[in-house]
């Protein structure tokens, strides 16, 4: 993957996209992502209430996977990105190697973080038994997808070579 224009590839872009992703994470976690309607079971879930429900049903492994993939990792990725940006700004110095590994990890995780979106899309497509049972995606899943995409773009916009500069650079230098 490469960012469309090298001119846009700057810590400033990464910070702006990361901030946008952080903003989108708020509705993604607070708003419902999925409504399921079955006879005797109508429910509207946010990501977190879905995790709680899975846990209560005894599906601990799945609950853990969803919690890690959908709540923990998006937040950790943004925290990691913030560390990278700070490192690039101050000059990473001795931390350069560790921060570069962090960058590689973030880049790798990016493509695996659409789990919830795929789940909602699959469920909505598969579970449409007319009047009997329907699954409807809700606004939260859109916000979640936006947050994931923005995080991936922000990671892409960050140039890890900045970590290896000798002298600190102002954040807006191209």
């Amino acid at each position: 993957m490469s960012f469309p224009s090298n001119r846009l590839r700057s810590p400033s872009t990464a910070a702006a996209l990361g901030l946008a992703a952080a903003i989108m994470l708020v509705p993604a976690n607070l708003l419902p992502v999925l409504t399921t309607e079955m006879p005797g079971n109508n429910r509207t879930d946010t990501i977190f209430s879905g995790v709680v429900e899975l846990w209560r049903e005894g599906l601990w492994a799945i609950a853990l996977v969803v919690f890690v993939a959908s709540i923990l990792i998006p937040i950790l990725k943004l925290v990691g990105l913030a560390l990278l940006l700070l490192g690039a700004r101050r000059g990473a110095g001795g931390d350069a190697r560790r921060l570069t590994r962090l960058y590689a990890a973030l880049d790798f995780i990016g493509r695996w973080s659409m789990l919830d979106v795929f789940l909602a899309a699959f469920l909505a497509g598969l579970v449409q038994f007319g009047e009997f049972s329907t699954v409807t995606p809700r606004g939260g899943i859109v916000a979640f997808a936006a947050a994931v995409v923005l995080t991936v773009l922000a990671t892409e916009a960050f140039d890890p070579r900045l970590l290896w500069r000798e002298t600190p650079v102002p954040s807006d230098s191209p």
């Binding site: 846009l8 400033s12 872009t13 702006a16 996209l17 901030l19 946008a20 992703a21 903003i23 989108m24 708020v26 509705p27 607070l30 708003l31 419902p32 006879p39 005797g40 079971n41 109508n42 429910r43 606004g139 916000a143 936006a146 923005l150 807006d172």
Partner: protein
């Protein structure tokens, strides 16, 4: 040709366009949150003596057969004398949460006078509501059983006093000349417990049949009389045979007695006298169509 004008050099550093993205994200996120909050109706709590079948997140409140809210949590009251349900209403259903609103849990009911709530066998119980007309309220006490469905048809109710309830259940028919003109709404013991008070409802077209001199009697069940002169089996319709029933007759006095007012009281005889059956006053009844447009009674339920 003129030379092009000298370029202007701006001293203000250009605002990096990429920062529009978080601003847009903020706007979209804010709008989503606002829309969600706006669609959210009020939250109410209802106390019930018994909450069997109610499940958080699954049991819904319906009004006029459509979804109006969902139970969000079910909790035992601290005194263990009941349960408290917390509901989130639909925004459009906010007017259901008024003082005087009555909530009850619909269980399947199968009785001689009909089958109700049968679909709840499959879907689980649900809540129903009869909205009150008071100011908005947030806390309610639910009814133990389904309130009597009173039809706002311009009919009249009367109170009958009887020594025994007999087999008169809610919904039992009230006959005039063995023609069904009303039904039993409810019954209770008199305050001094010396009698049973039975509230009956006469449908709008037939209210004029009930005069102040009208006699009511119980036609419930059947009785079998054995005497020196033979056996006599008394029964009325099959329906009243099962559920019990009430019949009435009005004496054909020369000037008819005045029409009985709403809520008038009468005595319910254990059985009708032969003479009553001969009464045949000419009383014009309203055609059922003419009362259809009658304004609804001010209070739906008492």
């Amino acid at each position: 040709m003129n030379p092009p004008p000298a370029p202007k050099v701006s001293r203000v550093p250009a605002f990096p366009l990429i920062w529009v993205v978080p601003v847009v994200a903020l706007a979209i996120g804010g709008w989503m949150g606002f829309r969600e909050l706006r669609n959210r109706g009020p939250e109410i709590t209802i106390d019930f003596a018994d909450g069997s079948g109610v499940e958080a997140g699954r049991t819904v409140l319906e009004y006029k057969g459509v979804w109006a809210g969902t139970v969000e949590s079910v909790q035992l009251k601290s005194g263990l004398d009941g349960v408290t349900l917390r509901l989130r209403l639909d925004r459009n259903a906010a007017a259901l949460a008024n003082e005087g609103s009555q909530f009850w849990i619909v269980h399947p009911e199968i009785g001689f006078s009909g089958v109700r709530g049968l679909e709840t066998l499959v879907t689980g119980v649900r809540l129903n509501v009869l909205p009150g007309s008071g100011p908005p309220a947030r806390h309610f006490t639910g009814l133990d059983k389904t309130p009597v469905p009173t039809v706002a048809d311009g009919g009249r109710t009367f109170i009958l006093r009887s020594g025994q309830l007999g087999s008169l259940t809610t919904g039992a028919p009230v006959f005039y000349r063995e023609f069904k003109v009303g039904r039993v709404e409810s019954s209770r013991l008199a305050d001094d417990s010396t009698a049973v008070l039975i509230r009956i409802h006469i449908d709008a077209p037939y209210v004029d049949l009930v005069r102040t001199s009208t006699r009511f009697w119980n036609t419930g069940g059947f009785s079998f009389k054995l005497s020196l002169f033979g056996a006599e089996l008394k029964d009325t319709s099959l329906e009243s045979l099962i559920t019990g029933g009430i019949a009435f007759a009005t004496p054909d006095d020369a000037p008819l007695a005045p029409v009985a007012p709403d809520e008038a009281g009468f005595t319910l005889a254990d059985e009708g006298e032969k003479e009553w059956l001969k009464w045949s006053p000419h009383i014009p009844i309203k055609s059922p169509e003419s009362v259809m447009g009658a304004p609804p009674r001010p209070s739906l339920l008492r």
